[in-house]
């Protein structure tokens, strides 16, 4: 009898714990007046990841402020949905609740989106990074977007190679694919072009979130002689800490990472999604629900190099960086 009672009690406690543990951290704002444009976003990491998710979320908030605040545009978000089935459920849920635009911010969400979108023809969807709007398979309400990460990579690689004293640069990537791969290869190309003979080593940890291994990767690069480091994904915060402790320079991407280590971060490639977000919203308001693929480039203002004012970049290095941007814009440099 006693044991039955305690099992029931244990079960109740477990359910409570599971409920607390699984409860989404994000609160959906209360529905506003019917005129508000409703945007929902599903993200693989957190809105404070200093990288991919934060760049998009801050972009949305900026657009919201420009449109006139919460009464004009409503934002709902679900973060840390790295697992595709969870994200797919959230995407369907938001579409079901009547959001005008549902953004699936992760290249792993593509197949789910292709299945969900046809069921909600009055909802616009967007996903990235990818250039596939699924129009070929008859889906007309999906936008796609991609950052030309290799462009900023090329420019930052130029700066790093010219500032390096050892001639060795380390790159710490998460997974050898997608946005990270574009960035890392662009950086390598830029560094080698700016100063032939520069050694660029690349490591991948196999994870977007393994902060500890990313920190060790940075340590390893430094031990091998690197005095300039860069990397991609939300796990680079670990590597930035190592750069700071060991007194080497860091180059950021996706978001301005200066605040993490003002003494170490030289410059960051920042993704500014506001332009494409505004265009998507305008399209949806005109009744065009998808079919467009967007890119972030230097030319359209979607990519910005944010220098850290606390670290002096020599004038001739800055000139070389500007020349690289100009070359990318007029097509003479293909990163």
């Amino acid at each position: 009898m006693k044991s039955t009672l305690s099992r029931v009690l244990a079960l109740v406690m477990l359910v409570v714990i599971l409920a607390v543990g699984c409860a989404p951290a994000a609160a959906t704002p209360a529905p506003e007046a019917a005129t508000a444009f409703k945007v929902a976003i599903v993200m693989p990491s957190s809105i404070t990841d200093m990288a991919f998710s934060q760049s998009m979320f801050e972009g949305l908030k900026k657009v919201q402020a420009e449109m006139g605040g919460e009464s004009a545009m409503e934002i709902a978000y679900s973060e840390n949905l790295f697992k595709v089935p969870d994200a797919a459920a959230a995407i369907r849920d938001y579409a079901d609740k009547g959001y005008n635009l549902v953004i699936a911010h992760g290249s792993q969400y593509g197949t789910s989106l292709e299945q969900v979108a046809p069921d909600f023809p009055n909802t616009a969807f967007a996903w990235g990074t990818s250039m596939d709007t699924f129009q070929a398979s008859g889906v007309n309400n999906v936008f796609a977007y991609q950052a030309e990460a290799q462009q900023g990579g090329y420019v930052l690689g130029t700066i790093a190679a010219l500032m390096s004293k050892t001639g060795i640069i380390g790159e710490t990537g998460p997974v050898d694919a997608g946005d990270a791969k574009l960035y890392i290869e662009g950086f390598q190309k830029g560094a080698e072009a700016a100063k032939p003979g520069t050694t660029v080593s690349v490591t991948y940890t196999g994870s977007f979130s393994d902060v500890s291994l990313m920190a060790t990767a940075a340590e390893t690069h430094i031990a091998a002689g690197a005095d300039m480091l860069t990397g991609s994904s939300q796990s680079v915060v670990g590597a930035i800490g190592v750069a700071k402790d060991k007194g080497v320079y860091w180059f950021g991407t996706q978001w301005d990472q200066t605040s993490l280590a003002p003494e170490a971060v030289v410059a960051s490639q920042v993704y500014d999604w506001t332009g494409i977000l505004k265009d998507m919203i305008a399209s949806v308001q005109k009744g065009v629900m998808g079919g467009k693929a967007y890119t972030l480039t230097f030319k359209n203002g979607g990519l910005v190099i944010a220098y850290n004012p606390a670290i002096t970049v020599p004038a001739e290095v800055k000139t070389a960086a500007d020349a690289a941007i100009a070359g990318i814009n007029d097509g003479t440099i293909v990163p």
């Binding site: 099992r7 699984c22 500890s212 340590e219």
Partner: protein, 310 residues
């Protein structure tokens, strides 16, 4: 390939491996106590996250990382207490309640992070302490004896725990409770109390394991920053045959191979990165398959104790 076996690279692997092994040692030695007393705590990862968060938060707000460490230990004990109540007193299925605890720690640490900190910040954590004389040993001195205090503590914990488990009366009680709780009970050992103690001790060490990341090795807190380390720690206990020295061997093997695979990539040795990343896991599985005798598993592991039942 030849440059992989050069002195600077081998020393680099040694240095990184020692650092990587630190959180695993705290967590897995702690879990060894829990399991030797008969309780499988799968919630280690959640406790580590709570420890990492509280260590960072208290350390930052008070400006004293020692207070942060203390907070991480206390929060770890509280999480261990929660696990004890559920799995020892209420006798819930240990595998399931552990997963519940892990999700609880993950969710709560993320929520607290968001409401109290809001964004990733860094902290000045424990600084390396150079041990005089020993650090002057040529080559290996700097690599072995110039670490922060938590690294030394993690490695000292191993012989200390082995001694405690094998040579003290209380250690004997722990082993008895995990092997045959009914017999221990008839000899006057308070089975429930011993298990509570072990699970709370394991919780405390898991909390410190988390803090070793957030205020000593990486010096920041990010949501889910343990990235499943707690589960690897549980696996290391099995790998180590429920012995602290076995756990040490497993943690070092896993960490050294992880450090090695990064060097393979840095040196540009022509192996696809995917294969390099798999190496620590593959080697650990191989070592598990070929090396250990599985005789030491505590007979009463995962079995709740009820007085007078046989």
């Amino acid at each position: 390939m030849g440059e992989l076996f050069s002195l600077p690279v081998l020393l680099g692997i040694l240095y990184s491996g020692i650092r990587l092994a630190t959180p695993y040692l705290f967590a897995a030695v702690g879990e060894t106590f829990a399991q030797r007393s008969g309780v499988l705590n799968l919630g280690v990862d959640g406790i580590m996250l709570m420890g990492a968060y509280s260590g960072f938060y208290v350390g930052m707000k008070s400006g004293n990382i020692w207070l942060g460490l203390l907070a991480a230990a206390l929060v770890g004990i509280l999480m261990g207490l929660l696990m004890s109540v559920i799995s020892i007193t209420f006798q819930a299925e240990q595998g399931i309640s552990g997963i519940g605890l892990q999700l609880f720690g993950l969710g709560l640490s993320s929520l607290l992070f968001k409401t109290t900190l809001g964004g990733v910040e860094s902290i000045n954590g424990f600084k390396p302490v150079r041990i005089p004389l020993l650090a002057d040993i040529p080559y290996v001195g700097e690599v072995l004896f110039n670490h922060n205090l938590l690294v030394y503590a993690a490695f000292l914990l191993v012989p200390l725990s082995a001694w405690f488990l094998n040579k003290t009366t209380f250690g004997l009680k722990i082993r008895a409770v995990g092997q045959n709780p009914q017999a221990a009970d008839t000899l006057g050992v308070n089975v429930i109390r011993v298990r509570y103690f072990c699970v709370c001790l394991g919780g405390m060490l898991a909390g410190i394991a988390g803090a070793s990341l957030s205020i000593a090795l990486i010096n920041l807190f990010q949501e889910n920053m343990t990235n499943g380390m707690g589960f690897i720690a549980v696996a290391l206990v099995y790998f180590g045959g429920w012995r602290p020295y076995g756990v040490l061997a497993g943690a070092l093997l896993f960490s050294f191979v992880n450090a090695l695979q990064l060097w393979i990539q840095v040196l540009g040795i022509n192996i696809p990165s995917d294969f390099a990343i798999m190496m620590p896991y593959v080697l650990t599985i191989l070592a598990l398959a070929f090396a250990t005798k599985r005789a030491q598993q505590p007979a009463a592991l995962t079995k709740p104790f009820e007085r007078g039942e046989n």
